[in-house]
């Protein structure tokens, strides 16, 4: 399958990586004790690992090449992926959704409170992912400061609760609105920038918000954060911790269902189509009579709204927040969820969030390598499967032979 030539190339790659990682992976110095530790085993690992990866990539490329050739001669017909079939056939889709919903409803009774708690976190990321998906996946605006809106939501509730004893249900719409307002305030000046500038400005904005929260002690209590935030109220009844978690879990399920409903409706609407068109070609979009700024701003503000909602829920769940929860890495994780799952695909984002949040939780041994893996996932997905695990499919319409259209 692979020629000697290619083996040689892989060998060279492995030598190169051994060289590359030498100073940082092999040598470890202790500048205080003044000792040097030589970790040669790391070099062997890197060499072997990069050799294997390089071989795998080569095998993959050869296969792709063959498939392309056979496709050209008509010998090979692409199989429609099973996910694609399920998603495009309403019957299957409803059955699947129903089954998933049923499983998630009985989940807390089958697993421990600890598991339920982890699941709540995962569901929060599902919502964040779906929110960012509107901005990045549909409208194609790379927002690297998404976490700022999440922070706005969380701090709105925390501060309102701390100063004015405002309850969760009151704070939820307020947090969402404030986040949307921030989205508009930031979006208004920066949305006319080109894509890569937008990425950097949003990144900077996210950092500014965090730095302000960290340094403005009178306002946000600085790095020590705000504690004793009230949990969501349940008709004025004081819940035990266990019940509070259960309550929060069902609340999250309801919120996720609501989010999916909204995003799904938006996706196939006039505004949703405009977002996708904007992502595809801005100039053509304008020439078709779409107001670029208004459309972008809507996407930006809607995405921010969702981050704000989840922020409020986050503050209520942990009952304690500080600026450390709102670093750039948080934005990166959410972006990674969207990219891995499939930009623009609701189902994909859900799958992405569950994989990326649950996997490190259950593979504790690997959790140190979490961020490393996230970085690698972003690069690998872009190179080998930019459409994500579950690709987005466009809605199709059926027509009778007459000019009559039906949805």
């Amino acid at each position: 399958m692979l020629s000697i030539e290619q083996l040689k190339k892989s060998l060279f790659v492995s030598l190169w990586f051994a060289f590359l990682t030498f100073p940082l992976l092999v040598i470890k110095v202790d500048p205080i004790e003044r000792t040097v530790q030589w970790r040669w085993e790391n070099m062997a690992l890197v060499a072997a690992g990069s050799f294997l990866v390089s071989l795998l990539v080569r095998v993959f490329q050869v296969q792709q090449e063959r498939r392309r050739e056979r496709r050209a001669t008509g010998e090979f017909v692409d199989r429609v992926p099973i996910m694609q079939i399920i998603l495009s056939e309403p019957r299957y889709l409803y059955t699947l959704s129903g089954a998933v919903l049923l499983c998630s409803l009985v989940f807390p009774f089958l697993f421990s409170t600890y598991q339920t708690n982890i699941m709540i976190t995962a569901l929060m990321y599902v919502m964040l992912g779906l929110g960012l998906n509107i901005v990045v996946g549909l409208a194609g605006l790379l927002d690297l400061g998404y976490v700022a809106f999440y922070a706005v939501g969380a701090y709105s509730y925390a501060l309102l609760n701390y100063h004015f004893d405002v309850g969760f249900w009151m704070a939820l719409p307020i947090g969402a609105l404030l986040a949307a307002l921030f989205g508009v305030l930031l979006g208004f000046p920066v949305l006319r920038l080109r894509g890569d500038y937008l990425a950097i400005v949003t990144l900077g904005f996210g950092e500014i918000i965090r730095l302000i929260l960290e340094n403005w002690n009178e306002f946000s209590e600085g790095p020590s954060g705000i504690s004793n935030i009230s949990r969501p109220g349940f008709f004025g009844i004081e819940l035990s911790l266990e019940h509070a978690i259960l309550y929060l879990y069902y609340l999250m399920i309801a919120m996720v269902v609501f989010t999916i409903f909204v995003v799904n409706r938006l996706q196939d609407s006039r505004i949703g189509r405009a977002w996708v068109a904007l992502r595809e070609d801005e100039i053509a979009c304008q020439a078709m009579g779409i107001d670029k700024r208004k459309t972008k701003l809507t996407a930006f503000a809607l995405g921010a709204t969702w981050a704000g909602i989840v922020g409020v829920i986050f503050a209520a769940k942990t009952t304690f927040i500080n600026p450390a929860s709102f670093t750039f890495l948080e934005s990166a994780i959410i972006l990674c969820i969207v990219v891995l799952g499939g930009m623009g695909s609701i189902f994909g984002v859900i799958v992405g969030a569950l994989i990326l949040i649950l996997l490190p939780e259950y593979l504790r041994a690997l959790s140190d390598y979490r961020m490393l893996a996230f970085g690698a996932v972003l690069v690998t997905m872009m190179i080998f499967r930019p459409q994500g695990v579950v690709a987005n499919i466009r809605r199709s319409y059926q027509f009778k032979s007459k000019a009559e259209g039906e949805g």
Partner: protein, 263 residues
Amino acid sequence: MQKPVLQVEGLSMDFGGIRAMCELDLDVHQGQIVALIGPNGAGKTTFFNCVTGIYNPTEGNVFLNPPDGSRPIRLNGLKPNQVTKKGMARTFQNIRLFQKMTVLENVMIGRHCRTSSYIFGAVFKTRATRREERETVEKSYRILQQVGLADTVNELAENLPYGAQRRLEIARALATEPFLLLLDEPAAGMNPQETHELDELIKQIRDDGHSILLIEHDMKLVMSLSDKIYVVDYGKKIAEGSPREVSSDPAVIKAYLGEDIDA
């Protein structure tokens, strides 16, 4: 006599001190097909970009006089989307379709500026939104039938053959309900059969009551379609008139065949 639907007066465009277009005048009358021709780099696409608001012209005026007799509209300083909404739509020389969207969706995007439902309507599927969506789909489908793409509604735009993509661009522009259509080299890259069909299509669009301004290199097509031809070279108008007048104009022959025709 009725005012021309498109009235361009003394349009000039500078790029960093270089004059790409110099005091161009041009009229398109209702129901006419007008062609803008000239060698490569003569400033034809620049003219389209200035008229449609993508560039902001350095000097000159662009007016639209809607055929329904409503007040003239000055286009200078309007954004491309506003221009489109006023009733002038265009296609692009290098095809700019929404590649990852279906053929039907591409045309539905054209309906955007004639519809109004927004977030609230989309989420709650109000009666007005549902009616609007139904209309959008029907109208888009009808336009696709008109340009002969009704069989490919659910294909992705990127999967269409070249000629079909050009026709889809026209369909998309028609969906914005323009009274004036600007076509930028619609026949580029088409084979003779496709060009012939395009010829029919453009005439049919004209007969439906649209006025058309087109940039084209295919002289056979230009001569067959046009009521009037403008010839530009180096950003200046060098001739205007009926196809017959223009094709015998010495300045035009010189521009196309070079200075040293006698040598």
